[in-house]
Symmetry: C2
Subunit: 401 residues, 2 copies
């Protein structure tokens, strides 16, 4: 529900709407912004000056035009003065990492370290120190930080900042936001907004918040690793569902009475496509999860079992993509996660499967791309979440309704 | 993008936002509305008076309270003065039908007739006459009509009002909105806004627009008949996807290399759950589609083949619901369409399947209900579409971006 009566909220909403238009259409002048938004020129001038003063926008004459006379000054998002910090707790690489990212999506600097233990208190303490080092660096560089986002591979209650369940650690009901805030305060970092979200939801934001116009909507990011899951953007917002579990598509059923999944059900997509499924096929029996690096080496040596296993996963990946297409009719599907590093054997098999579905029914193929930030998708997306929320101030007010 | 600068649009947006709050929370007073929305009391008073004058709201003292003193006047949606017309072209019953529906979802009157032909021109001509008879009746009753919605079983480009494809008629690229508007004008009905949409999308709106607070969001309506498909509400809006095809879940794959579907692919949900699939199982071979009425009679006589066929469909229905849950994490799933009339044999089988998935993974069962308007879901939803669009005036402005 959009109510436009509250004056300060209305002003903030308009201000951020202008920033979003400049993000979509960089280089617009104030006059063009007024035309684009329906706001008066004087309101636009006022708000743009605000945005320039605060570091969101910059004026630039770099882009020359051939026309004669004084060209109105083009406006751009400022990629220097403001920044966000993104952090990630990763199961796949058993590590934590953090990055400082500019408003325009440039990675300014980063740090990571292995996790000797996945005990929540230990992870949170290490995470706080990693983030604090980036905060210090940003301040030394004269950058103003807008906030911190953290991604975890699990079900997150984002309003409470609680990790409900991260089965591969395993974590259950970890108050990540409040515990991390306390640790950060202990080492002198406070007054920075903290957001916690599921890793693949964040990866979807990395594609969306730093992408170019026209932005695909809906956008589905499909993450492929030990876990298989999706992050989804619908009508310019992260789509989370009633309890925050939307996009848990690794647990949609691809075969009645199929293999038993880590979730306890049978025939889930993850049991055909995930890293564990590929490992089981290569080993010939269920057991350890083979590192992606090892699978890739086997493929390079044309190992028959590995090729068969990866192509089989790719074929089922095609089925899962087909099913996502029928549900969401996305403008774009982005593939990410460590399994993408297996390259052609998995991706070509998925493509062939989709091609056949497309031929059978006479519909065009969905648009599929590989993620722009690769192995950094989640951590860049964690930074993007800070921007995503700030640019939509009305959501914060109405999200609890 | 919500820009709040345009004064008349802003006023209309606030006015309709007030009507939506009263729909959600009937009986609020002006003071409570102001508190609820953050608008000033004087603005609320002004807009509420407008809404009363135009027939959207009414003041009522019917609901007495025990408190002493003058109680502020409670406001309600007016169920008398304004109405919408919904119409439907149905494959299942080979008929057209239309209803006049009040703002509060009461069916005021209706008409229907069989279709001797499914030729577009013929259907549209008959539809125009059916609608015109309801328009005349509404005018005689002193009701002001807000517009007309039409539902068709197929893929609809709603902005253009074109039926892209309705495979069971079969229609392809039928300019339903403009052709119907022309026919209506010929018989004296003009100046009424016309909307065209897919049938199951409309059925979802019938649940949502006339439902009580708290409204489930996301809401998934799953329609079961010859075709299987979903209508989906996300963040208070009908969710259509990039091309309007979101929710075509009858064509998600439930089994690799399964039976051939009407769409040309193999193993689609429709080939396990649809009316054709049940008929094939009963007959023992592919062929005609058995009417739901006939299947119901067979079930009543405990026909073994019919029971097995319907329970099998119910089991796969459980799988499809599970998959919808993992994709959308809906607050509620509503089941509708003719196959629901088969009752326990199909619904209990679906429930058992879901119960097992729920036990296997320790997650709660999704909330599942039967449709409120039964066989009238689509046509009531067509009327609801008119209300849905009017209550969201900002969408009309920004939907093309």
């Amino acid at each position: 529900m959009t109510i436009t009566g509250d004056q300060s909220l209305m002003r903030e909403s308009n201000r951020m709407a202008l920033a979003r238009v400049i993000q979509r259409l960089p280089g617009l002048s104030r006059a063009e912004l007024a035309k684009e938004t329906g706001l008066t020129k004087s309101t636009v001038s006022l708000l743009v000056q605000d945005l320039i003063d605060e570091g969101w926008l910059l004026e630039s004459d770099i882009q020359a035009t051939g026309s004669i006379g004084r060209r109105p000054t083009p406006l751009f998002l400022d990629g220097v003065r403001l920044a966000m910090i993104g952090a990630e707790v990763s199961v796949e690489s058993k590590s934590i990492s953090a990055l400082t990212v500019s408003l325009t999506g440039e990675v300014i600097n980063g740090a990571s370290e292995p996790l000797p233990s996945t005990r929540p208190a230990e992870v949170i303490r290490r995470l706080a120190h990693l983030i604090a080092s980036l905060v210090e660096q940003a301040r030394a560089d004269g950058r103003r930080l807008l906030g911190i986002g953290v991604g975890v591979p699990g079900a997150v209650l984002d309003k409470q900042g609680v990790v409900k369940l991260a089965p591969n650690f395993p974590w259950r009901d970890v108050s990540l936001r409040s515990d991390l805030a306390r640790e950060l305060a202990l080492i002198g970092v406070d007054n920075l907004c903290l957001h916690v979200q599921n890793d693949y939801d964040l990866a979807a934001l990395s594609e969306y918040e730093f992408g170019a116009d026209p932005l695909p909507d809906p956008l589905v990011y499909l993450g492929l690793g030990v876990g298989v899951g999706a992050g989804i953007i619908v009508r310019d917002r992260l789509f989370l569902g009633a309890d925050g579990f939307a996009g848990e598509v690794g647990h949609s059923i691809l075969q009645l009475e199929g293999p038993v999944c880590s979730c306890g059900r049978k025939g889930c997509a993850e049991t055909f496509i995930g890293q564990k499924a590929i490992s089981t096929q290569i080993f010939g029996h269920a057991g350890d999860v083979m590192p992606v690096e090892t699978i890739r080496h086997l493929l390079e040596r044309n190992d028959e079992a590995a090729l068969l296993a990866v192509r089989r996963a790719g074929h089922y990946l095609g089925v899962l993509i087909q099913n996502l297409w029928t549900c969401f009719n996305p403008g774009r599907i982005v593939l990410g996660g460590p399994l993408c590093e297996l390259g052609a054997p998995i991706l070509d098999a998925a493509h062939s499967c989709l091609e056949r579905y497309s031929e059978d029914c006479g519909m065009p193929l969905p648009e599929i791309k590989l993620s722009r930030f690769g192995s950094r998708s989640v951590v860049v997306g964690a930074a993007a979440l800070v921007k995503h929320n700030l640019l939509r101030p009305l959501d914060a007010r109405f999200r609890d309704r």
